[in-house]
């Protein structure tokens, strides 16, 4: 049976824009013979039971997430696709721990570098998504993933990265002649007098001294980022030691695949704010060598172009030979396959769903309950809640709504049919003379007098 691996499309020369997807591709490419699996660059997460990629479709089983895929492969197919069979049980335990460590420590770093940092996001990430998504999903998927990354890293207090540091480089003519001149000088690479454009040494701290300089947002963030980076890379560096792979045994394990997925997503993208890449290059050159060696071993030395993959994955052909031909002609070595064609109406439905759920006001009105999948097998008894029951609350709510509705109705009816008589006469009286407010007052007094 052919295993189907669905991932987010390629970016930065890697098989996928997502770290766990890259890790899964590396794992498959290493252990599963190429005839036994196909790789699909996909974007419709609704086929995945957990709305996520990587997704492995093995017959009727759908498995999501790197760790679940790896444990599925270990427990099925009689262990033929288990990269970790050579590990001792102690190493297996260490692998579990370090996999969890990688996921918890590396995810925020990737989030910060690719999504939260607004400069990086606008310069690299969003354009990479454009290459792997159909046009209508570009308005929804990247912002959603960015929001998720923001919420994951909110506790780190690094939202200052989010502020756009770019000064508006306005087009010529929109500003004064002087600024035109400055812009021309800047384009020509001549240092300009515009000191605010770059935080250079002259504007250092704006006269606040060294401390002010260091506590300006960009440097304060830099210190925090360095700490975070070290928290991940230091243990990895020590674990790697002088070995070729993270665990003993002289061959890559699933831990190496995952580490590669994350480290490659940190290292290979070309970003304007390249603090992660710099940290790796300057302080952990051995890890850099490890990444490039793994890339060669796990994926082969190829720079995957998103456009090539897009042609394959959106082609309609079912013919195996022609797919292979296309693949060879553009030089792709991974078993990329076309997406299974989805009928037009599901695409349309998905597009509308995405748009509607992202509309500012409408989204609030739609029910947005978190999807919880649970199979309650171990329940012995149920204990009744001592809170007011939902039915009671609903009754109360309906009751209140009814009262409010009635009053509004009465008010409207009253306004439409005001009572006749003096009041109308009073309202239609022509405005008073030159006495202004005093005139009104006097008139009101006069009205009190018996006529």
């Amino acid at each position: 049976m052919v295993l189907q691996l669905h991932v987010w499309g390629p970016a930065f020369g890697l098989p996928s824009i997502d770290a766990e997807c890259t890790a899964s591709v590396a794992y498959f490419n290493r252990i599963v013979p190429q005839a036994h699996w196909v790789l699909v660059a996909d974007y419709d997460t609704s086929i995945s039971p957990q709305n996520e990629y990587p997704l492995l479709i093995d017959g009727s089983t759908y498995v999501t997430g790197f760790t679940n895929i790896v444990s599925h492969l270990r427990n099925h197919h009689s262990g033929a696709y288990d990269l970790d069979y050579h590990l001792t049980s102690e190493q297996q335990t260490d692998r579990t721990a370090f996999v969890s460590f990688l996921q918890s420590a590396a995810t925020p770093l990737v989030d910060l570098s690719l999504y939260v940092s607004s400069e990086n996001y606008s310069a690299a990430t969003s354009s990479s998504y454009t290459a792997i998504l159909p046009w209508y999903l570009n308005y929804t998927i990247p912002p959603t993933r960015r929001d998720l990354a923001r919420s994951r890293t909110a506790h780190l207090g690094l939202s200052s990265l989010d502020v756009s540091l770019q000064r508006d480089v306005a087009g010529p003519g929109s500003m004064s002649l002087g600024s035109d001149f400055e812009a021309a000088k800047r384009d020509a690479g001549i240092p300009t007098a515009d000191t605010g454009a770059q935080p250079n040494m002259l504007s250092m701290g704006r006269g606040k001294g060294l401390q002010g300089f260091l506590s300006s947002p960009i440097y304060a963030a830099r210190f925090k980022l360095d700490t975070l980076t070290n928290e991940l890379l230091e243990p990895l560096f020590e674990l790697l030691g002088k070995k070729d792979y993270l665990l003993e045994g002289g061959r890559p394990s699933s831990l190496d695949c995952l580490a590669f997925g994350y480290l490659a997503t940190m290292f290979y993208p070309t970003l304007p704010q390249a603090w992660l890449k710099e940290a790796l290059q300057l302080r952990y050159p051995r890890l850099v060598r490890y990444i490039s060696r793994l890339r060669e071993e796990l994926l082969g030395r190829e720079d995957i172009q998103a456009a090539d993959v897009w042609t394959i994955s959106s082609s309609k052909t079912k013919n195996e030979a022609s797919i292979t031909d296309t693949r060879n002609s553009v030089g792709l070595r991974l078993p990329w396959h076309p997406r299974s064609a989805r009928p037009l109406h599901t695409t349309l439905k998905r597009a509308t769903d995405e748009m509607v759920s992202n509309l500012p006001l409408v989204a609030k009105l739609l029910p947005q309950d978190a999807v919880i999948q649970a199979s309650n097998t171990n329940i012995s008894t149920t204990i009744p809640s001592s809170l007011p029951s939902p039915i009671l609350m609903k009754t109360l709510r309906i009751f209140t709504a009814a009262i409010v509705g009635t009053f509004t109705g009465i008010a409207i009816v009253h306004r439409r049919n005001p009572r006749d008589g003096d009041l109308i006469f009073w309202a239609l009286r022509p405005g008073g003379g030159g006495l202004g407010e005093a005139g009104d007052l006097l008139r009101a007094l006069a009205y009190q007098l018996p006529r």
Binding site: F98, S100, L148, A370, S375, T382, I383, S386
Partner: protein, 313 residues
């Protein structure tokens, strides 16, 4: 001026000098008739008012603010919140005497329990006078313990320390969040422990319950688009088995001679999961079953319970 006048003046001034001292002694002096009136009644002296309930009374002891029942706080019983229990246990490991105060998140300067209010005695250096009474949030408790305990041990520089800690802080914590706040255990654990003691107003309770649930969902949704109980439990199971392997036949984790922060962190979860009488008891025992079967973790928990919580049982 005539002599008559001067005489009168003299007598006047004389009588004035005689009378003056009496009113000037105090304006509060009670006029005689009123005094006589009041002398007929017995004078009742009320005892001094008590300090407000919240006023710190034992300033000579460190105070740890945790989630606990009033009775539990008096007896020094283990907290029912893993984060609180972890630090409670850690302080006990390091022989730091402290009192417990039952509290909630709104009381904490950092917005989360536990936090510790150091005693006034610890302000040995005058420059630290102002800082000594500053509360210590949980993030800084380890450093504070190192500085204040004579027997504190450095955490081992073991390579695997961080990795195994991530198992606890992520996988097991997530499963815990699910099992307490989202699974059917909500009515038997989250409700009696966190919601009911906070308020008696049914509407406030309902809002609290809703907020707690939302917060737990939000936290879990950060890591996956869908909350799948089976996957959460499976990951926790792997984590527990990895922890059991890591403990092996040692008494404490990473072969230490004394229990450290890691042991406290493990105990915080294993104890609560193994505690049958937590809240109103476990309804959904999926997560609990993952620990019950692991003999070494159970023994580890009992070791700590016996050595450090024997008096509160």
């Amino acid at each position: 001026m005539t002599t008559e006048q001067s005489e009168r003046n003299g007598t006047q001034s004389n009588t004035e000098t005689e009378r003056r001292p009496q009113p000037s002694r105090s304006i509060f002096t009670v006029p005689t008739p009123i005094k006589q009136l009041f002398d007929r009644f017995p004078l009742l002296t009320y005892p001094a008012n008590e300090l407000p309930l919240r006023a710190p009374r034992h300033r000579d002891a460190h105070v740890l603010y945790i989630f606990a029942t009033e009775e539990g706080a008096r007896n020094g019983a283990p907290s029912y919140n893993p984060a609180c229990l972890k630090w409670q246990t850690y302080l006990k490991f390091n022989d730091i005497p402290f009192r417990l105060v039952s509290s909630n998140n709104h009381a904490s300067p950092s917005g989360a329990l536990p936090f510790l209010l150091p005693s006034h005695e610890s302000e040995s250096i005058p420059t630290e006078l102002s800082r000594a009474t500053q509360p210590v949030p949980s993030a800084k408790l380890q450093r504070w313990t190192m500085n204040n305990s004579s027997s504190a041990v450095e955490e081992p520089g073991d390579l695997r320390y961080e990795a195994y800690l991530s198992l606890l802080d992520h996988r097991i914590r997530r499963a815990w969040l699910y099992t307490v706040y989202l699974s059917p255990n909500t009515t038997s654990l989250a409700e009696p422990l966190y919601i009911l003691p906070s308020s008696t107003n049914p509407f406030v309770r309902l809002t609290l319950a809703h907020e707690l649930r939302r917060a737990a969902e939000k936290e879990l949704l950060k890591h996956s688009a869908v909350i799948n109980a089976d996957i959460l439990y499976k990951e926790a199971d792997e984590a527990f088995s990895a922890l059991e392997m890591a403990l092996g036949d040692d008494e404490w984790f990473f072969g230490n001679k004394k229990p450290g922060l890691f042991d406290a962190s493990v105990f915080a979860y294993t104890h609560l999961l193994l505690d049958e009488g937590l809240g109103k008891g476990w309804v959904d025992t999926s997560l609990r079953d993952k620990v019950v079967g692991r003999r070494k973790l159970v023994q580890h928990r009992e070791r700590i319970l016996k050595a450090y919580y024997a008096d509160s049982a």
